[in-house]
């Protein structure tokens, strides 16, 4: 069952043309004829070049930005023109984790207030009170629950990112759009968060759009993968197909460039571990 259907999405930004203040406007195509589907309970990963339009696509899919052309359907309804109740329902069902951790947190609010904001906005009261709810949520994403009264500026980059994740998971969305949601996390916490995401998918049928540069992570949790370059989807296929037999030239370059830990050292470590 298709949850989200994106068709022929394009986005052009108005940019300054050459020739000073009074110059004519020019436009720049950030997203170009992008189409994809996300099924219920599925993870679609979007990988690709930096600046290729991944975040822009995600924003449009979450209806935070209006497309220049194209359509976005959620549960069969075109949401690119939805208003009022329909839009509210859509917003409740779709949550976003933003790429830039600090900018997306209101500097005036404590973590507790930030994390429970979606509940407040959707008129849901947390069982057991806000404090307990927040503490539990913070624990799940690996944050110290004692810090629930701190303000965003008092956290590290990775912690701020986890606040963003916690916020997205506070309600029960059908679709979570994760824009580089785990990039600032150390690998062990990253693994914990990924496990959490996958468990939620298993148990509650969440769908994800997962934007990431870490191809190893993508391979771990995606069902299908879209590869973007210069505003277009150059390759879209099942995970095994994209990783196993990439068709597009850019995908191949990408896969070839993945850095690895010095294999020699790695082998030695495994050996020593085995010994100890």
């Amino acid at each position: 069952m298709t949850l989200l259907r994106v068709r022929d999405l394009s986005k052009q930004f108005v940019i300054r043309g050459q020739g000073g203040l009074l110059a004519r406007k020019a436009s720049f195509t950030a997203v170009d004829q992008v189409s994809f589907d996300v099924a219920l309970g599925e993870t679609l990963a979007i990988v690709g070049e930096s600046g290729s339009g991944k975040s822009t696509t995600a924003r449009i899919a979450a209806r935070l930005l209006d497309p220049t052309s194209g359509s976005v359907e959620f549960e069969g309804e075109d949401i690119s023109r939805a208003t009022g109740k329909d839009l509210a329902r859509f917003r409740n069902d779709v949550q976003v984790v933003f790429q830039d951790p600090f900018s997306s947190l209101n500097p005036r609010y404590t973590v507790e207030r930030i994390v429970t904001a979606p509940l407040t906005y959707q008129g849901i009261a947390p069982k057991g009170g806000r404090r307990a709810f927040t503490r539990e949520l913070m624990e799940r994403v690996g944050l110290n629950p004692d810090h629930s009264q701190r303000y965003p500026a008092q956290f590290s980059g990775g912690q701020a990112q986890r606040i963003g994740i916690a916020r997205a998971l506070a309600v029960n969305p059908k679709l979570v759009i994760c824009d580089e949601a785990v990039s600032a996390l150390d690998v062990s916490i990253q693994a914990q968060v990924i496990k959490l995401l996958m468990r939620l998918q298993r148990e509650s049928g969440f769908s994800y759009i997962f934007i990431a540069h870490d191809l190893a992570v993508v391979r771990q949790l995606s069902h299908r993968v879209a590869v973007m370059s210069k505003g277009r989807i150059v390759e879209l296929g099942s995970r095994d197909q994209v990783f196993g037999e990439p068709r597009d030239e850019y995908t191949k370059t990408l896969l070839a460039a993945v850095p690895r830990i010095n294999p020699e050292w790695d082998r030695r470590r495994r050996l020593s571990k085995g010994r100890s």
């Binding site: 108005v14 009074l22 406007k25 600090f102 500097p107 500026a153």
Partner: protein, 327 residues
Amino acid sequence: MTRYVIGRLGGVVVILLAVCLFTYLIFFKLSPDPAVMICGKTCTPDRIDSIRDVLGLNQPLLTQFWEFLRGIVAGRDYGTVHCSAPCLGYSFQTNESVWNMLTTRLPVSITVAVGAAVLWLLAGVAGGLISAIKQGTWWDRSAMALALTGVSVPNYVLALVLQYVLVVKLQVLPFPAAPAFADNPVLWFESYLMPWTVLAVGYACLYARLTRANVIDTLAENFLRTARAKGLSRPLILRRHALRPALTPITTIFGMDFAGLLGGALITETVFGLNGIGKLAADSIAKNDQPVIMAVTLLAAFFVVVGNVVVDLVYTALDPRVRVTSS
């Protein structure tokens, strides 16, 4: 952009028309019959009638309003006298051409406004900035206490006290008058110094507090850390990175305040006997001199409305994030 400006200017005209009409209604309908006031102490009903006739007060209100508007563009005739465009009529009280009254007084108001604005911007922004940097120190506290005193003192009180101290007691300044700059620049400066100061104090205090609040907010931003990390000099950091975001909102207020002052500083001009638009307004209200009230209102409205357009343009120019969505 050009279209936006043209649209806004169209809006200005509409607002001015609305202001005109509203003023007209209020002062010509709600307030007493000017004919009676012109008529004076010993007056007969006949005479009131003939005065009304000459002034066109017997016509329907809208016709009168239309005549008034037409006069601005095309000039008009009053009884035996012709009033050439832009005709804002004649004062009921002094029989002077209102246009002349405005043009002779405007330079005084502009001088007062510009001088005061320079003073309060310098004092307010500098004071607020220093307070913000030295937040919580002795300097900060005393500067903010001073700012409070400043706003709490009504400016006519300040005017009289200053006058008493500086002019009467210490005799360092002359009694305020409005001499021409060309005649005696030193006297000109000395004469305006007090009005400028008195007018500037209240604003300076407000600006200092606002600047302080905004700068403190800005100082906590991450980008300020970046600026420091680049090894920029302190003045540059403050001027470029701290002050610009802090001052952008202040431009809004400044535009409103300055434009408002161009339309006359009522109290200050009255207290110091400066013949500007503000004093003209005060006098014409006291005498219920409707054509003058009308003209003063229009002039003030013009400055404010145009000022607001300028503010909006400047604001979008100053804040790139606003700029992008506005196009």
